[in-house]
């Protein structure tokens, strides 16, 4: 495999989790950039123009992932990445599952393309990324 593959941005506040994701993605020859909070994520999106974004939901605040995803989809600043696929990678669904009404849509926020539970199975993650990058 060569390195002419897509560039993926991972936004997560846990440095060890970022390391693990980097190991999975570089092994599959993806270019990897990381950010550890929303504002870093925003800067990196603009400077690196990733082809796909993996986004944690709960970082500094409960809805960080949702608000960033919403900004990517709707704000003028991020026009260049409006159509970039966003996948939530989070353990939030189990913590505050649908039973407890944790739905970004209810907050008037725009949701992601897909959702993957943590911990991530490397093969599963790569398969989903492939699917979105093919589109």
């Amino acid at each position: 495999m060569t390195t002419n593959r897509a560039k993926i941005l991972v936004v997560d506040d846990d440095p060890d989790f970022l390391d693990a994701m980097r190991a999975i993605l570089t092994a599959a020859s993806y270019g990897v950039v990381t950010a550890s909070n929303v504002s870093e994520g925003k800067q990196t999106i603009l400077s690196e123009r990733p082809d796909l974004i993996l986004l944690d939901i709960m970082m500094d605040s409960l809805f960080d992932g949702y608000s960033l995803c919403h900004a990517i989809r709707t704000s003028k600043e991020f026009e260049c990445v409006h159509d970039t696929p966003v996948i939530f990678v989070s353990a939030v669904r189990q913590i505050a599952g649908s039973r407890f009404g944790f739905k970004g849509e209810d907050q008037g926020l725009t949701g992601p393309e897909d959702y993957i539970d943590k911990p991530v199975k490397p093969a599963d993650l790569l398969a989903r990324i492939e699917r979105f990058l093919k589109k």
Binding site: D14, D16, F17, D19, A20, M21, A23, I24, A27, M58, L62, A91, V92, Q94, I95, A96, G97, S98, R99, F100, G101, K118, P119, V120, K121, P122, A123
Partner: protein, 378 residues
């Protein structure tokens, strides 16, 4: 919440009064807007959201009283001060009743204007601050459990993720002994995560934050699905699942689907786990007057009479012979009981040591045509 250079709106039909007040306040670094009648004043208040309004009570057209009455609709905490030309106690009292913070009897000194405005704005500041704090506290309480569990789970998930990377062979070769050890560690972590999840569920239900989506549900369909789902794991444990309700009529209850599923899944899983080899689990569904009754009976190891009163207590665990490490969190039955109670139902247990245990869940039958959605709290 401190407003720097607060905006003050002066509503007075006398130009001289508007000008002199403006000059005094501008010198004190307030921002000032003026209006020569009540209607203009209200429009400006709506557009500019001033922190304070100083209004003359006696104006041609709309009076100061009328202005006062419409201010709370614009901002309930606006600092309203009235100017009265005829400083009678009556008009002042009337103005205060209509929401004015204070009044300035004409003629007044610049100092009086300053002091009264400052006092009124201070009062507004305190009210706004208290409100902001109250909102923040409410938000904190609502999110506290979620944040705590996030803090507890994050490190565990990071460890699990690292294990996944190792097991996928992404950081070098692994032999089977290493893999076996990591699998074991991973399983223990998984159990810890489940414990945290269960504890969280329980904490939420106990706080009365069980916000389910209550809808008309066919209990039989839920059990049909669960039996399908759990049959493989029963078979693995050499236990037969007998579902005796698949042909009973439809019994509807007003319930939260996931909540109800969790109740029955917990009970059936227990019945499988605490059974004997080649044992049976029988699930019955029937109705009785105004109740729908689900009974889950096992031919298992049973529960000693002296333990029965405690089995719904948190972390009470009898333990299964042969289990070196308890599999469950010790919270499953507590959660089931709380969930059933959140549905205005009851859960009962009968057991005989060495013979088996039977759990009975009674749920109120939904009234015919009683479809409704809404939340319920425990």
């Amino acid at each position: 919440m401190t407003e720097t250079n607060p905006l003050v709106l002066i509503i007075d039909d006398e130009e001289a009064m508007r000008d002199s007040c403006s000059q005094i306040l501008l010198k004190d670094r307030y921002r000032v807007e003026t209006a020569k009648d009540g209607a203009t004043g209200i429009r400006l208040a709506r557009d500019l959201h001033p922190a304070a309004v100083i209004v003359d009570l006696k104006m041609p057209g709309m009076s100061g009283f009328e202005v006062l009455e419409s201010l709370p609709g614009i901002d309930p905490h606006i600092a309203a001060i009235v100017i009265t030309g005829y400083a009678t106690v009556d008009s002042a009292v009337e103005a205060m009743k209509k929401g004015a913070h204070d009044f300035l009897p004409k003629p007044f000194t610049p100092e009086a204007l300053r002091v009264i405005l400052a006092r009124s704005l201070e009062r507004r500041r305190l009210v706004l601050e208290a409100e902001a704090l109250r909102k923040e506290k409410q938000l904190l309480e609502e999110n506290f459990i979620t944040m705590v569990s996030h803090q507890l789970r994050s490190p565990l998930v990071a460890i699990q993720q690292s294990f996944e990377v190792i097991l996928a062979g992404l950081v070098g070769a692994t032999d089977d002994r290493l893999k076996g050890m990591i699998h074991k560690a991973n399983e223990r972590l998984g159990a810890l995560v489940r414990l945290i999840n269960d504890w969280l569920d329980l904490a939420r239900i106990e706080q009365g934050r069980f916000v389910g989506t209550f809808q008309l549900l066919d209990v039989r369909k839920i059990l049909d699905r669960l039996v399908d789902l759990l049959t493989p794991s029963a078979r693995e444990s050499d236990i037969s699942l007998e579902w005796a309700g698949s042909s009973v009529p439809t019994f509807e209850v007003l319930a939260d689907e996931q909540g109800l599923e969790q109740v029955f899944a917990n009970l059936i899983n227990n019945a499988i786990r605490y059974n004997k080899p080649q044992g049976r689990v029988r699930i019955d569904l029937r109705d009785e007057a105004n109740s729908v009754i689900v009974e889950i009976q096992d031919t298992g190891i049973g529960i000693a009479q002296e333990h029965l009163p405690f089995i719904f207590d948190q972390f009470f665990r009898v333990g299964r012979p042969g289990d070196k490490i308890p599999k469950g969190s010790g919270l499953g039955l507590s959660i089931a009981k709380k969930l059933v109670e959140a549905h205005h139902g009851r859960i009962e247990v009968r057991s005989e040591l060495g013979v088996g245990t039977s759990f009975t869940v009674r749920l109120p039958k939904a009234a015919v045509g009683g479809a409704a959605t809404g939340g319920a709290s425990a």
